[in-house]
């Protein structure tokens, strides 16, 4: 067995153990911590499986945002899961039957890593062969994401936009301000404040690098947007939500949510005006490659804008919910 196979097996076993622990534990806080670990391990596994761009996204999501959102929900609801009251037999039977059917189905699948598998011989070779000449950037994933399959990505960005609006509709209108509560920030944590101040700059800089280096290395608007949002969230956590709202007002963020999608759609519209198909960037520059470069840059920027704005306004909506967790739920 090669070392690659051993790493593969070890990481998958880790994932299995973590998932099982999540199922067993009833302290929801521990569940949140374990789900952060689950995401860390799956990011390592994705690097191992050559999906560096995906691993980057999983890392950006799992290390910060999803943990923060889960904790914010726990702070507003309850910290403990009640013991199940119903019989677990029926779900168990259903799960085992489904599992066996799926395992039976895998027996006919092409073996892992097979270069002749159907998935490897259809569209992918074209993308790998033509990216350099048609798009002119080394990162094939970015080329496919923003140019070849730009329509899909526009759809995904719209989904994120819609989900963000959904969260705002559900939560933002219900911000309650009960009397008798006092403002509390982490003022006394000197070490934390200093280190956070030092860190925010590099995080923002790194987000810019990820945003604009996507043509050459792993990265892109999705990842950069989340990293941007993480910087604002860490500021809000340590220096207080009020101060964060002063720096980045909620209204401005909500405006940016729409601006990103608009930028993406607008780039497509410009190629309309030049008499080409929607989202065909070739007309934007002097020649095809220059046009593609500019188009991908703008589109990725739109994606980054929307993702960052949705994440920040989601965090504002969750953290701005005031009633703190009741004693019986703690």
């Amino acid at each position: 067995m090669s070392i690659e196979a051993i790493i593969n097996i070890a990481l998958f076993v880790f994932l299995g153990l973590t998932a099982f622990a999540i199922l067993k534990l009833r302290a929801l806080f521990a569940v949140v911590m374990l789900s952060a670990v689950f995401s860390l391990v799956s990011a390592a596994l994705l690097v191992h499986l050559d999906a560096v761009d995906v691993a980057f996204t999983e890392a950006a999501v799992g290390a910060g945002i999803s943990t923060v959102l889960m904790l914010a929900t726990l702070a507003l609801t309850s910290r403990h899961e009640k013991a199940p009251t119903r019989s677990q037999a029926l779900p168990l039977i259903v799960v085992f039957l489904t599992g066996f059917a799926l395992v039976y189905g895998t027996l006919d699948m092409p073996r892992f890593g097979d270069p002749q598998a159907p998935i490897q011989v259809h569209v992918a070779p074209k993308y790998i062969a033509d990216t350099q000449s048609e798009i002119g950037i080394p990162n094939i994933v970015t080329a496919v994401l923003a140019s070849y399959r730009g329509f899909d990505t526009l759809g995904e960005v719209t989904v994120i936009f819609t989900a963000g609006i959904g969260v705002l509709l559900l939560l933002a209108a219900f911000i309650r301000e009960p009397e008798g509560l006092r403002v509390q920030t982490m003022d006394h944590h000197l070490v934390l404040r200093v280190v956070t101040k030092v860190l925010i700059g590099p995080i923002l800089l790194f987000a810019l690098y990820v945003q604009f280096h996507a043509d050459y290395g792993p990265g892109g608007g999705f990842q950069a947007g989340i990293i941007f949002a993480s910087a604002f969230i860490i500021y809000a956590l340590v220096f207080g939500l009020e101060n964060a709202r002063k720096a980045v007002p909620g209204r401005a963020v909500r405006l940016l949510v729409a601006c990103g999608v608009l930028l993406y759609g607008g780039v497509g519209f410009v190629s309309f005006l030049f008499g080409k198909n929607y989202l065909n960037y070739s007309v934007l520059g002097a020649d095809q490659v220059a046009g593609q470069h500019l188009g991908i840059l703008l589109v990725e920027f739109g994606v980054g804008l929307t993702v960052a704005a949705v994440m920040v306004s989601t965090f504002y909506a969750f953290a701005g919910q005031n009633p703190p967790i009741g004693d019986e739920d703690w």
Partner: protein, 94 residues
């Protein structure tokens, strides 16, 4: 040698996972999750060298930067019972 380092990291990760599952206090869990994060940073770095394409350290760099956020959020949650600003009379645990 990279293989040995990799094995050491995997062993350390499984131990941290054990502590995360066992608890018993929530601070133990935060500590082991944090330590697990550091090990993942190293694992991804070593993995790049093992496969001979070490230019994907950006992912490790990202973890090193924002693994911190999770820890801070957890601590704020336990100290003030909220991730926002206001703390009710019942939420003051100092």
């Amino acid at each position: 040698m990279f293989t040995a380092t990799m094995a050491a990291l995997l062993a350390a990760m499984i131990l941290a996972l054990g502590r995360l599952y066992l608890g018993p206090t929530l601070y133990d869990r935060v500590l082991s999750a944090n330590s697990f994060g550091t090990k993942t940073v190293l694992l991804i770095g070593v993995m790049g060298f093992l496969t001979g394409r070490p230019d994907f350290l950006d992912i490790s760099l990202l973890y090193a930067l924002i693994n911190f956020i999770g820890t801070i959020a957890v601590l704020k949650f336990f100290r003030y019972r909220t991730l926002g600003d206001r703390v009710g009379p019942s939420g003051d645990r100092q």
